[in-house]
Symmetry: C2
Subunit: 311 residues, 2 copies
């Protein structure tokens, strides 16, 4: 991976994505004892950073691949992101979703012109369903987080953050499947001035923390966390990047996630999903370590069910 790969990615996707705002809050600075810069990917198209990686992945397709379409499996933001990204350049998207996925998410995918393939709600069934679509249609499989083009795309959020604030000492990011923190770590390495990347992860799905300890990809026996975007595990493409470039991962309790989410809603007056709050929760848990520093915090998305809030 080189600096140029990220620069090329940024140039490629810029026409299709929002440059999201960076918000600050005197009160949150006072609470953290540091100077915080919140990168607001909740304002990204379709409401999450996933649009960046999805857009980069579809733009990397060959002309021949474009005629056959793309396929992924996701019940979350990547389903919408890949569908919208594909629609932007006139490519067909097949999305494998669990049969029990919320109607509102299915509607959103269909609204962007995606074709939904239902599968049973377990990892093996969804992978088999995606493989079947690949075989039958020739569509190109794009993984939500373990794909190099996706990882590079997600890294552009941190690139923008560092363009505006080159002297950040740290960037905090949530850790889910590893796409966002992997890209963030690459961006910080190539464009930061000794900028360290810290991951936030729920204790209830701490596979990445354990993976860094054991040196191999660990999985979660169960994932009972309200940060539903962070239940997935790392992959063989992003794990080496994370091992090399991420400084550490801080685990947080569910109550800390809820408290951080409430702080963001109340003080920044913006809607972020629970997964987004995990980065701030991690910082606040260990705030003595980061006192007085300039710190970027990536708020990953804002797609929440308002009828089912944790407070």
């Amino acid at each position: 991976m080189q600096k140029e790969d990220l620069l090329a990615t940024q140039a490629r996707i810029t026409p299709y994505i929002h440059r999201t705002p960076i918000l600050t809050s005197r009160l949150l600075n006072a609470i953290a004892g540091a100077e915080l810069f919140f990168k607001c990917e909740n304002f990204q198209r379709m409401g999450a950073f996933k649009m960046r990686g999805a857009m980069n992945a579809v733009l990397a397709l060959s002309e021949e691949q474009k005629t056959r379409g793309v396929v992924t499996h996701s019940s979350g933001n990547f389903a919408q992101a890949l569908t919208l990204a594909a629609q932007n350049i006139g490519v067909k998207a097949y999305i494998v979703m669990p049969e029990n996925a919320p109607q509102v998410k299915k509607d959103a995918v269909r609204g962007y012109g995606g074709q939904i393939i239902e599968s049973a709600s377990n990892p093996i069934a969804r992978e088999e369903a995606a493989a079947r679509v690949e075989q039958e249609t020739g569509a190109y499989f794009i993984h939500p987080s373990n794909d190099l083009d996706v990882i590079l795309g997600q890294g552009t959020a941190a690139m923008e953050l560092l363009e505006d604030h080159p002297d950040l000492a740290y960037i905090f990011s949530p850790v889910g499947g590893g796409g966002l923190i992997g890209g963030t770590a690459l961006a910080a390495h190539f464009f930061g001035q000794n900028c360290k990347v810290i991951g936030g992860e729920p204790f209830a799905a701490d596979d990445a923390y354990r993976s860094l300890q054991s040196g191999q990809i660990e999985s979660n026996d169960n994932t009972n966390t309200l940060a539903d975007g962070l239940r997935t595990q790392l992959g063989d493409i992003n794990f080496p990047i994370i091992r090399q470039y991420v400084d550490q991962i801080i685990r947080v309790e569910e109550t800390e996630i809820t408290a951080a989410m409430k702080l963001i809603w109340e003080r920044l007056k913006i809607i972020v999903e629970p997964s987004s709050a995990v980065a701030l929760a991690a910082l606040l848990r260990e705030k003595e370590m980061y006192s007085g520093q300039k710190i970027g915090v990536i708020l990953s998305g804002g797609n929440v069910d308002l009828g089912n809030l944790p407070f």
Copy 2:
């Protein structure tokens, strides 16, 4: 009132307030059938447009008045706004609040250095309490909405909107005590290109609608609306401005307020209070009238109790 009064107000308060962002949403445009520009006063200091008028009022004080302080009665955003405005220039603030005001609001006022005087929770008691403070301390009384400096200050939100989008055909504003819509109407008159101002008001507190019909200030027998910022009635200073410069007032049902608030939260990914949603609710109720137009919508504030949401 002259154009120069608004320009002088803007110049005076600019160092103390945020120039708030203006957000747009393709999806909300599609729902409304018009091109909408949301002026986000939820991102204003202390979370509401009230900071503008309060700041202008304290900056208009004479040096002698400044030494004696200011007093108001408010259980809502103006209490915090006046306290913070006064603190900015080293002036003492006395705030009459109902004894049953939420602890969080009292704490916010004290946090900005305000002195709280508790009164019984009815209009006569609070006015008497404020008059007592005036007599005992010599503090200058500033009304939350029926004060010319306050009205001019509130008008600067629409001035900013029209600076960025001079060709707006309409600006929608909520109607409470009349300070915001009065200032907005002045700004649209002096700085718009035939820009009309429309008020949104709950059916459950439709005193302004009835006042425009009868030609005299009407009150509300009861005010059972979740738009708690709009329960107050007009005053003798803002009513003539509203009669002269506001095009019409559209009343909305409580269910329409909740639906508009949910749309703003879900689509713009920002926190606004129920009163803010009344302007969009009014537009959506009569959207056939405004089809294809460029429309400013003032989102008045974002101070909500997350433990007590209507959805």
